[in-house]
Amino acid sequence: MASYPQQDMSDEQLSEFQKLSNEYVPEVTGPLVGERQSSTAIVAEYASADPVFQAKTEALPQKYSHYRTVRGDGSCGWRAVAFGYFEALIHHGDPSRFLEEETRLRSSSNILNMAGFDPFIYEDFADAMFDLLRDVASAMQAGHAEQTLLAAFNDESNQASILTYLKTLTAAWMKTRPQDYAPWLLEQTVEEYCNASVMPTSAEIENVGLSALKDTFLSPAGITLEVLYLDRSEGSEVNMHRFSPVNHGGFDVGTVRLLYRPGHYDLLYKLQDLPHAAASVSTYLQIASQTHREPICAIGMPDFLTGFAGMSYVSPHQAWPGWQQQLAGGPFRPSAWEFEPDVLQATAQSPLQTAMFRK
């Protein structure tokens, strides 16, 4: 029988190794968020890997033309979602969407308060988020939204504030509806999970947390989340998991696509996600001249009130009506999962399931 070297070590040596291992911090280099580049670079990276990875990476550029690296410092999943969210809003092309998002997120402070977070502590992080929404909206009209975004995410402390905001939002969302997430946690309460695996700066995103982040941050913005798994599983392509429900209210702003390699997230793009220089310039001009003279004008949109907690057309007695209830009587177009309770149940309870493909 082969003996493992650990078995020959004394307790002192073992504890010394344990200490070294606990203190080990991998050296991470590169920008926090890199430039978008052709995904053929991934093929080159895996050219000498084993056949499963070779096959999967060779098939990748046919569907996903570009990718963007995110620094693997333990926060890459959170950062990739945050960056992808802004890019989806930019790509959507309507600067007033940024103000709608700010309004929506400001109303979320009710959830943060309900979950017991102190406003005077989280407001700094929330402000970093709102400032960036405004900066990108105005940069969009000047035609350099992407540069502004990239610069903001490569500012260490600024992006850390935004990630802290997203973690706080995710934890608050989970804590205020523990019944939705508790079934997926093993021997942990939602509270314990949030304290150990969502809130700490060092906590990388996990599947349950990612699902909650999607539910509270991406879906209400009309943004779909897809995760493409590049691992050693069977198949000749990366496995795609589209988190469901696809979006809320039937409107579609865009998609955040994450490339997952065990322990690390990067961003992936299809051709349709890329800005087309000529088309986008005319769109910006059009929008700038029509709808964005004064940001405050956009407040006049008819469904503005529904952005606030407790101000939807239904459930006035409930402090924070769930999205489903808002949808049921709200101004949004009904979606498939309203009509089919089974779909809702299946999707709401199975963040770990990977069978919900739609090709």
Binding site: F120, D124, S157, T201
Partner: protein, 154 residues
Amino acid sequence: MAAKRLIKELDAYHSDPSPAVAILQPADDGDLLHLTAVLLGPQETAYEGGTFTLTLAVPPNYPAAPPDIRFRTPCCHPNVNFKTGEICLDLLKGSWTPAYGLISTLEAVQQLLSAGGNPDSPYNLDVARLMREGDLVGAEALVRFYTRLYAWGR
């Protein structure tokens, strides 16, 4: 960043004091980054009646990094170094989040006292051994003795 946030935290503490923290103030007027706190021993535990002085050293990049918190009043607890006052609490190390403040961190330290701590990663071998061997009466008596010796009436 750190100073702005600390001023907000101190203001919030003055308008809404914490039942766990009797005092939280800068150690001297010119320096916000070094603070003194007095933590009350949790009720219905062997620490009851004790008032523990702690020092908080706040790093310039706070709240991105956690404060360094140490007991100045000797505290007998398996996860507190009796001599240096160092505290073994995951919140003060890997589990830190900028969404915690000084008060919520001090409350977590009080929580650590009332929870009895984890004898498997001990800073205080004597009390940890008693707890591991199941001598909870002995452990409690030791805690009560040191609390009375050092933390009463100060």
